[in-house]
Structure formats: C-alpha cells, structure tokens
C-alpha cells in the first residue's frame, strides 16, 4: 500500500496582492491560456450577476448564487480534458458554459422549463442532483467505470463544506480510494451551509485533513485564486490518469452572497467579514495579476466582458422565446419504455391534451 503523506494544511496561493506578496506563476501556461482562463472567469461572473437580476425581474426562479466561487470552478475545469466528467452541485450550475453548453439551457433549467434538460453525455457534465453529496458516489463510480473500460478519462465532483457531513460523501470518497478510481474530489469550502457555519459542521481543523483518513492526497488551496486551484487540480488529474487514484482538494473561499435568492443571511452572517471578502473577490484578483504581468489590456477586458454580456442576452432571449412547457412530456422520460400498465395514464393525457386543443 502506497504511503499517503499528511494533507497540506497551508493554503496554496499563486496570485500575490500587488504590494507585499509577490505573484507566483504556474508552469506550462501560455499567455493565451492565461487570457482564456480570464475569459472563463468573466463568463461565469457575468452569468451569475445577470441571473440575480433576471431573478429579481421574475424571469428565472430561485437561483443559487455563486459569486466569488468562479475561480474554483473555472480553475478546476481548465485542468480537465473534454472527456473528463464534471459532477456539479447546484452551486456549479453554470459550469457547462465552459464546455460549450448554451446559456439558454442553464437559464431554462432555472426557469423550470424542459429546455433545461441537457444530455450529460453531450458535455460530460452530469445533471444536477440537489440532495447534498449524493453525486459523490456517482462520480466515484463513473471514474471507476472509465478505468474498467480502459478509457483515460477521470471525473471531478464539486460539493460544499456542508456536504462532507453526509454519509454519501464519506462512502463515496472511501469507495473511490479503495477502487483507485480516477477521481478529483473538489470541496468548495465557502464557510457556510445555508445558515450553518463550518465550525458547527466539523471539529476537524481543516477539511483537507479528511483526505488522510481515506488514504488519498489532500491539498488546501485559496479557492479565490484561480491559478492555485488550476495547479492543484492539474496535479490531481495527473495522479488520476497515472493510476494513483483519487485526490481531495479543499478550495477555501467565503460565501459573500446569500445561499440562494430566497435566503436572507443577515440573521446569521458576519456582515463585516462579507464586505472584507468582497474586496478580495476572485475575478478582480486575477485581473490584477494579468495586468501586472502585462498580458491584459483595457481593450481586451472590454471585449471579453462584451462577449459574455452577449452570451447572456442571447441566452435569456432564447430561453424566454421557448414555447410554454409541453405537458405531453410528463410521462415521456421516467422510463426508457413506459410499462404497459401506464398506458391508461398516457391515454388519459392524450385525451385531455386532444380535448384542449380541439
């Protein structure tokens, strides 16, 4: 049995603060890569900010805000190949954008419209399962399945700090380790599970410590540092592809927005901390880094933001142009081949629909 080193408790960082802390760099990233990563960040940020506005305008339903989580999503996704599977939680609802999924699809999902159903195999992005942590075993199984089929692909599962309290997380992580599944467990530690702070979720000093117990390497990174997340994920993916099994990454950030649009965090959150964290938000930090490197001009920023705004305009326009949800789909999708005993329900549905259109 391979020896697993103790998890790294220090927060890994690459981006400096432009003053006392110097910028680092990640090997192997070209200037074009660095700008492409910025583009991903801006796309996610724009998606998120527009979605909050759309919600207020009544154009989408309740929405799980991911402001200041963009770096961990974009950084991790950037380290994956297109064949690698992403298992998002609701917090990563828009991560498909980075795999070419149209904004219309994701906005339709939040609108509760059937046009929001995507085929996971088209993007290698799993459907979102809202019961907490329940997708961790799926990701373990998918990664293991890929290995059994002799494919090179691995899987990444995104889940929150609160999710580490669920049995499904524990069993999935242990299972993946035992099977040496090529899996990356990416824990979004934003400090809160709705109103419950991390201190009420665990007595572990750091979530990354759990990795040791599963016999897998663990890394703790600044989740608002897109390059640190990218680098840690790239290492984990290399291990996975090299047959060394799963890794755990704790990406630490702070939830500066409400849990979702329906939540009012003022009764439980520390508002001063929120304000301080907002100043260190992840997109601005990376933008500062690129400007200090001299690879990002004002014109480029403007163009990238403009493109993202276009994606959203087109997306919401298309989502709103969808015809109303088709009730006829109700019995279509629960089974590959609906059991004959459901025929009466189907006949009833056809009669009603036929009646209303006739």
């Amino acid at each position: 049995m391979a020896q697993v080193a103790a998890a790294e408790p220090e927060l890994r960082r690459v981006i400096g603060d432009g003053e006392t802390v110097a910028d680092g760099e990640v090997d192997g990233l070209s200037e074009a890569d660095l700008v492409a990563l910025y583009r991903d960040l801006v796309l996610l940020r724009t998606y998120d900010e527009r979605s909050v506005v759309y919600h207020r305008q009544g154009r989408i339903g309740t929405y799980a805000i991911f402001w200041n989580h963009e770096a961990m999503q974009a950084g991790a996704a950037f380290a994956l190949g297109d064949d690698d599977w992403i298992f998002p939680s609701y917090r990563e609802s828009a991560i498909g954008l980075l795999r070419g999924m149209p904004a219309e699809t994701i906005l339709s999902w939040w609108r509760g419209h059937p046009a929001g159903w995507w085929n996971p195999a088209d993007y290698n992005v799993a459907s979102i399962s809202v019961p907490i942590a329940t997708h961790v075993p799926h990701a373990a199984g998918l990664a293991w399945g890929k290995k059994l089929r002799g494919e090179d692909a691995c899987a990444i599962a995104f889940f929150g700090d609160g999710a580490t309290s669920e049995g499904a997380f524990h069993e999935g992580a242990n299972f993946a380790a035992v099977m040496r599944a090529p899996l990356v467990l990416l824990c979004n530690n934003n400090g809160w599970a709705i109103s419950t702070p991390l201190s009420a979720q665990t007595r572990a000093e750091a979530l990354v410590d759990k990795a040791v117990g599963y016999g897998m390497p663990g890394t703790r990174v600044d989740g608002a540092d897109v390059l640190a997340v990218y680098e840690a994920t790239r290492e984990a993916v290399e291990r996975a592809r090299g047959g060394e099994g799963p890794s755990f990454i704790e990406a630490v950030t702070y939830r500066t927005a409400p849990h979702a649009t329906a939540d009012d965090p003022r009764v439980y959150i520390d508002l001063e901390r929120v304000e301080a964290e907002k100043k260190r938000e992840c997109v601005g930090r990376y933008e500062g880094y690129l400007r200090r490197l001299g690879v990002l001009s004002d014109e480029a920023v403007e163009e990238i933001r403009g493109d993202a705004a276009d994606v959203m305009r087109t997306g919401i326009g298309a989502a709103e142009a969808e015809s109303p949800a088709d009730i006829g789909l109700v019995f279509e999708h629960a089974y590959v081949d609906p059991p004959p005993s459901l025929a009466a329900d189907l006949a009833d549905l056809r009669r009603i629909l036929g009646g209303s259109s006739g």
Partner: protein
C-alpha cells in the same frame, strides 16, 4: 379562541412541550438562528438556547439515529428533516431502527422520538423537493404516522406525538404553513387515531389528507351548488387509522372518494378503498374513487407539476363520477 397560522401552531406545540419538560429538545439543519427552512422554529433559539435548539451537521442519518439514541436515554427528541424527500437518507434509522427497537427488546425499550418533516407540491421545486412519501411509512410496523391539515390539528397532534412513547413520523404540508385557524387558548392534545369530520354530508364521503382536505372542502362547496351533499373526513393520523370513523361515515353516505396529494398507485387511498370494501361492501352504491398524483416524478415546470398533482377540480370530478352511478351499476 385565538387565531394562529399552521406554522405558529407547530412552533407552539414544540415550545409548550419544551417549557414544561426539560427532556424535550429539537435538532435539525438550520433550525437555530435561521429558524428552519420554512421559518417554523423562528425565535426558539432565543427562548431555549443552543443546547435545546440544536443545529446539526448535514447528516440526516445521524440526525434520526442520534434521535433514536437520545430517546433510548430517556429524552423526548423532536428531530427535523428539512425536506421530506431527504427522509430517504435516514430510511435505515427510521425503518430498521426506530421502528424495531421496542419489538427487538421484547417490549422493554421505548423510542419516544418525533420526526418532523415537511413537503408537498405547489411551488414546483422539482423531482427531489416536493414528494409526498407518507404512505411508505404506513407500511412499517412500529411507527406512527401523522399528517394534520389545520392549525388546531397540527398543534394538538404534535403535542400529543411528542408525548407518545413510540416513534412518530410527523408530516407537515409546505403550502399550509400560512393558513390561519382558530385554536383553543390552551393546547389540547389530540389523540392519535381519531379522524375529524370537517363537514357533514349525505351523498358521498371524501376521505382527504393534508392539502387535499382544503381542496376537498372547496370541491364540497361547489358540489353543493349542484345539490350534492358531501361529507369531508380527515383521518389526521394515517397510523393508527380511525377505521371506525371512516367506515361509519361511508355507511351513512354509501359512497367514498379518497383524495391525497401523493401518487395514487399503491398509495394510502388503495388501503382506504380496500378497508371500505371489506367493512362496508354492502353499503356501497358505487366503486370507491381515488384522487391523487399521476405516476410521474414531479416536474420542475409549473404547468407540468399542476397537471401531475390533484386539485379541487379532480376531487369534484370524482365526486360527480361516484354520485352519477347508482347501486345497480
């Protein structure tokens, strides 16, 4: 009599038990500062403190399992599962543990645990957040199952459930939290296993639970305009079931409709239909009609959800079908 909401009634029952009895405490996800996802426990942290109003990690299995353990230790825990859909994560603890400990100790151990949970459709939160699963639990010997529909009932039944020495699974319907109703000034516990006739009638008995009690009452008012007299019977507890009350109502009206929001197929309504034909076959003038959700996961899209779940019109249509038949077929 004071008027309070269903939400306040639930809170009242718990708070009163906690004031009277140091063995009663509540735990669950986000129930403390936030007051629960539906605001039910708001203010309880301030009154009872963090030891007795306890936020838990997101661990449904441990919430119910530790509730079982605390009950064995002599406490009367009230645990909350945030959404009824997530009772699935605690199923082992409910079905194999809470329900079985008394039996497996030869009747020597008791598990006075109350598991509160809420759910129900109407706000279209999709396939994993609005199911009505109460019928699953009625199939498990050792559990009691309660599903009140009014502020008065929810308060009296919850208070009684807390003091029941058996594990009780207590269902609340999300769309009812805001409804108001009169309640006695002092809490009056309501015995489990006693149904309630909400409205007397002559022509047909509608046996309804949860949200469907209100849909049935609306349908009954409509049917009256057509000269049909409807009796609305709410069993209030599914286990134990007030079989006498239910059967005697059907014997009086000679017709029966069962209405619940949960899926019709293999549902609670099937049990009621069987009971009625066993105990009142000779009194029936028409087959028992069932109203409930269609056999589909709950859709996210509001129009699709509205199609899947039952409404007043469905109850009314069933009333008319059954009254439209006569005893000779």
């Amino acid at each position: 009599m004071p008027e309070i909401t269903y939400r306040e009634a639930v809170r009242d029952a718990m708070s009163e038990a906690m004031r009277r009895d140091g063995d009663v405490f509540i735990m669950g996800e986000d129930i403390a500062e936030m007051g629960g996802s539906m605001g039910v426990t708001q203010g309880m942290l301030q009154e009872f403190g963090p030891e007795r109003v306890r936020n838990t990690p997101i661990s449904e299995m441990a919430i119910v399992g530790a509730g079982v353990g605390a009950a064995m230790a002599g406490m009367r825990p009230i645990v909350e599962i945030m959404y009824q859909d997530f009772t699935t994560l605690a199923m082992e603890q409910l079905v194999n543990q809470a329900a079985k400990h008394r039996y497996m100790s030869g009747g020597q151990l008791k598990v006075p645990l109350t598991v509160r949970t809420q759910g129900g459709a109407g706000w279209s939160p999709g396939a994993q957040h609005a199911q009505q699963l109460e019928a699953w639990f009625v199939h498990v010997p050792g559990l009691k199952v309660v599903f009140p529909s009014t502020p008065e009932d929810v308060r009296g039944l919850l208070f009684r459930s807390i003091y029941d020495d058996n594990p009780v699974v207590f269902f609340e319907h999300r769309t009812l939290y805001g409804i108001k109703g009169e309640v006695p000034a002092e809490i009056e516990p309501i015995e489990l296993g006693q149904g309630r006739i909400h409205r007397e009638g002559e022509d047909v008995t509608v046996v309804a639970t949860g949200r469907l009690v209100h849909e049935a009452l609306a349908a009954a008012a409509d049917a009256e305009k057509d000269g049909i007299s409807v009796e609305v019977f709410d069993p209030r507890t599914l286990l134990p079931l007030d079989e006498e009350g239910l059967v005697s109502s059907v014997k009086k009206t000679n017709r029966c409709v069962v209405a619940h929001e949960a899926i019709v197929r293999m549902g609670f309504g099937a049990e009621v239909a069987a009971l009625v034909q066993e105990r009142a076959f000779d009194y029936l003038d028409a087959p028992v009609e069932r109203v409930g959700a269609r056999f589909s996961p709950l859709p996210f899209a509001p129009v699709m959800e509205a199609y899947v779940i039952p409404h007043e019109e469905d109850v009314l249509a069933a009333i008319k079908r059954t009254v439209g038949r006569n005893g000779n077929g």
